[in-house]
């Protein structure tokens, strides 16, 4: 089995190259292949990994241009492995997630004040999927808006905002909504790339649509449409 890996280092000087590796492994995951290369062929190969069971979000990268978790992807002959896009590469497949993580802080993605309400199974289901997020960053890598606007809050941060806004315990819903108006809910093009690459089957696009509908309820409109009279999102789906 042969795969190619895009390598990058900045010391002693910046160097980028695609290297080919060959190994004999039966039906391996990409993470097993990378581990095999590191421990038996090239100890300088750098990548992040943790749980190997798709919950820690460490090993996101791209294969043939598509975002995957290395631990959940079965390698095919000739695959090209590259780091995530739209993030600084530190070395090889390791990227700097600090900025994407900081979007959660800008988006104030936490429970603002807690009211003592009893949640039903239906309440819980409203954000069950959103709270499966592992912050692997695949969605930021795939997002064409974030690619051109580094200030865009981006998919997982907005999904996280929806997680808390939709939580019956949240008391600060309105402030949360106002906080995601600029470089937030209206900047998304609803292209759905984030949904397609999410290893946890979360649709940030759908969450952003729900945030738009809630925004409209609080009188926040799409700034691109000025005084358009309608109340809901412009794709015509006031969905919850």
């Amino acid at each position: 089995m042969k795969i190619q890996i895009k390598r990058y280092t900045s010391e002693p000087e910046i160097k980028e190259e695609v290297l080919a590796y060959e190994m004999e492994l039966e039906d391996p995951t990409l993470l097993e292949v990378l581990g095999h290369i590191k421990t038996t062929q090239d100890s300088s190969l750098s990548f992040s990994s943790g749980c190997r069971s798709s919950v820690c979000g460490s090993c996101s990268m791209r294969v043939n241009g598509r975002e995957v978790l290395a631990c959940a992807y079965k390698v095919q002959e000739g695959d090209l492995v590259e780091p995530l896009k739209n993030v600084p590469v530190i070395r090889d497949l390791v990227v700097d997630m600090d900025k994407a993580y900081s979007m959660n802080v800008r988006a104030k993605a936490w429970l603002e004040g807690s009211s003592d309400v009893a949640l039903s199974p239906e309440d819980e289901k409203r954000n069950e999927r959103q709270s499966d997020c592992i912050m692997c960053g695949s969605c930021y890598s795939a997002c064409p808006v974030y690619a051109v606007n580094g200030e865009f809050l981006g998919p997982f941060a907005l999904t996280r905002v929806w997680r808390y806004v939709s939580d019956g315990r949240e008391e600060g819903e309105e402030a949360k909504i106002h906080n995601v108006q600029s470089n937030g809910v209206w900047d998304c093009t609803l292209c759905n790339e984030c949904t397609l690459v999410c290893p946890q089957d979360i649709s940030s696009k759908a969450d952003i649509e729900k945030l738009r509908a809630t925004s409209a309820q609080y009188g926040c409109m799409d700034p691109n449409f000025g005084s358009f009279g309608g109340g809901f999102g412009f794709d015509g789906s006031p969905s919850f």
């Binding site: 943790g50 798709s54 530190i90 997630m97 936490w110 709270s131 997020c133 997680r163 808390y164 315990r169």
Partner: protein, 542 residues
């Protein structure tokens, strides 16, 4: 230049570290949290089953039953006072998690849902599908962000910094840290330090459910700095990990009615006994040439998708079986380390100023065998305790902090280790170590086997200068980090083996096939280990 100051320094940003951070911050201390990865990547994310609290939402339960179940499973090695504290505080702990937004699964009556795990007399584990740890960890992380607490990522602990007071007594006052991103050594001065770095199951290499980072860094650094460790021989094997990949299949699968079957399709053990007993029963079958399977087919697809979605995905990916239609091939593997840094009832270690919480600490609530659902609980209850007490310690701290000598020694270490000769491959040695530990220092062991492993470990210790990282780079050198982690594990291996050999009895997870019964007269006591001038010492203490 690479010198930072804080009140409370926390090493590790899993559940225990984050809870400690929130509580130290609440007490008014300036807090800095360091993690060798990112906080949401911690081992806590892998906890699936739940967090115990005797809420009685799914059947009659009481705090006293929770206490008694925990004490029974601990087989005489728990500290009853600590267990009582933990079980009593469980209700408040879960209420607090609920108040900060943890999305627990709910009952029809709009209460937090609970399910049964092994060794529990009632459905007691509060859960969020099979993502309990993930959802608790992420919610804690969000809370820490809301409080503006500083977390620095990709910082690897080298050593704790200690100074001596006027009575020549050591105290912890910081740590030397490798910044993985730059390769530079950083020095953190602190009035108190909390270690929350997790367990050491990764010693078993591929025979462990744990994430890559469970290498016992904080425990090894603590004993080097003068703290004591206890009960290091007690290592829990989880009965049901996927056979080829050691991926965990949660105990909730058995709690919900899953069966264990051998190749003949026979059940051979009560699936809901505590983990040590189930793991041994499975091991006996495997030793007798049987294959062992987990069968949850009869639970039905709807139930599996609702309660065990992660398990289904992982079984398909790693074993090519769909639990809805197929048997799941399993084996027991190393899962949780009960032993750790010895702490008093304030989470304070023997080294003044150094506190510990979570899996790296031994609060003596698990004893010889941990119950499922008690480790998430432990990290909330004792993370809080450690955070508060470390903040109080910092407030009254009035000693000097001198770091230059220890910083220099850390710098020299990081520089020098790259000159090790590399004649021996440490990755191979880790694999070898994992195999011999699994076979001879695992679920079942005897004196002969343990002494052979100890001989091998002492040989590896001698060979370490002939190993080393092949990669000499500064920036993001994971080969270097892997090697230092390996060194920490080898240091702990000796301690674990000496403890296993010293305990001439069987108790809970420590099963000696040559002495299969407990001996309360001699060994109903904790194994304490420490170092004097670099020499390992061991003793038993009540």
């Amino acid at each position: 230049m690479n010198n930072y100051k804080t009140d409370v320094l926390i090493i590790g940003a899993g559940g225990a570290g984050l809870v400690a951070a929130l509580n130290a911050h609440k007490s008014g201390a300036k807090v800095t949290v360091l993690t060798k990865e990112y906080p949401t990547r911690a081992q806590t994310s892998m906890a699936q089953g739940g967090i115990n609290a005797a809420l009685g939402h799914a059947g009659e339960d009481s705090v006293e039953d929770h206490i008694q179940n925990t004490l029974k499973s601990a087989q005489g090695l728990a500290n009853e006072e600590a267990v009582r504290l933990m079980c009593n505080e469980a209700l408040e702990a879960v209420a607090w998690l609920d108040s900060i937004g943890v999305p627990f699964s709910r009952t029809k009556e709009s209460k937090i849902a609970q399910r049964t795990l092994g060794g529990a007399s009632a459905p007691r584990a509060c859960y969020a599908q099979d993502y309990t740890g993930l959802k608790i960890l992420h919610t804690l992380y969000d809370r820490v962000m809301a409080q503006g607490i500083e977390i620095k990522n990709e910082r690897y602990l080298l050593n704790f910094i200690t100074n001596k007071d006027k009575h020549e007594k050591s105290y912890a006052c910081g740590a030397t840290i490798l910044n993985i991103k730059t390769g530079e050594v950083e020095t953190y001065e602190a009035k108190s330090v909390i270690v929350a770095t997790g367990g050491y199951s990764k010693i078993y290499h591929k025979h462990s459910t744990n994430a890559k980072g469970s290498t016992g860094d904080g425990i090894a650094a603590a004993i080097r700095a003068g703290a004591r460790l206890s009960d290091m021989e007690f290592i829990q094997f989880h009965p049901t990990a996927l056979k080829n990949s050691s991926i965990l299949i949660s105990e909730s699968a058995r709690g919900a009615g899953g069966y264990l079957l051998n190749s003949k399709g026979e059940r051979f053990v009560d699936e809901l006994l505590p983990r040590d007993q189930v793991a041994r029963a499975i091991n006996d079958q495997i030793q007798a040439g049987e294959e062992v399977f987990l069968d949850i087919r009869h639970l039905g697809e709807a139930f599996i998708m609702e309660q065990l979605p992660q398990e289904r995905k992982l079984a398909k990916l790693y074993e090519n079986v769909d639990p809805v239609n197929d048997l799941i091939p399993i084996k027991p593997v190393a899962h949780y380390t009960m032993g750790g840094i010895e702490v008093d009832k304030n989470s304070h270690t023997k080294l003044k100023g150094l506190f510990a919480a979570g899996e790296c600490a031994n609060h003596k609530v698990h004893g010889a065998n941990r119950l499922g659902g008690n480790s998430l609980l432990e990290l909330i209850v004792f993370g809080k305790q450690a955070g508060k007490n470390a903040a109080a310690w910092a407030k009254s701290f009035d000693n000097a902090i001198e770091t230059s000598e220890q910083t220099l020694s850390a710098q020299n270490f990081v520089k020098g280790v790259k000159y090790f000769t590399n004649q021996i491959d440490f990755y191979q040695k880790h694999q070898f170590l994992g195999n011999i530990f699994y076979n001879n220092a695992g679920i079942s062991k005897d004196e002969m086997g343990l002494k052979a492993v100890l001989g091998a470990v002492r040989q590896i210790q001698k060979e370490i200068p002939f190993m080393g990282p092949k990669d000499k780079s500064n920036i993001y050198n994971t080969n270097l980090v892997d090697f230092i982690e390996f060194g920490n594990m080898v240091e702990l291996c000796e301690i674990i083996l000496v403890s296993m050999i010293s305990r001439n009895e069987s108790r809970g997870a420590h099963y000696r096939s040559d002495i299969p019964n407990p001996n309360d007269m001699a060994y109903k006591a904790h194994t304490i280990t420490w170092k004097e001038d670099g020499v390992l010492c061991a003793d038993f203490m009540e």
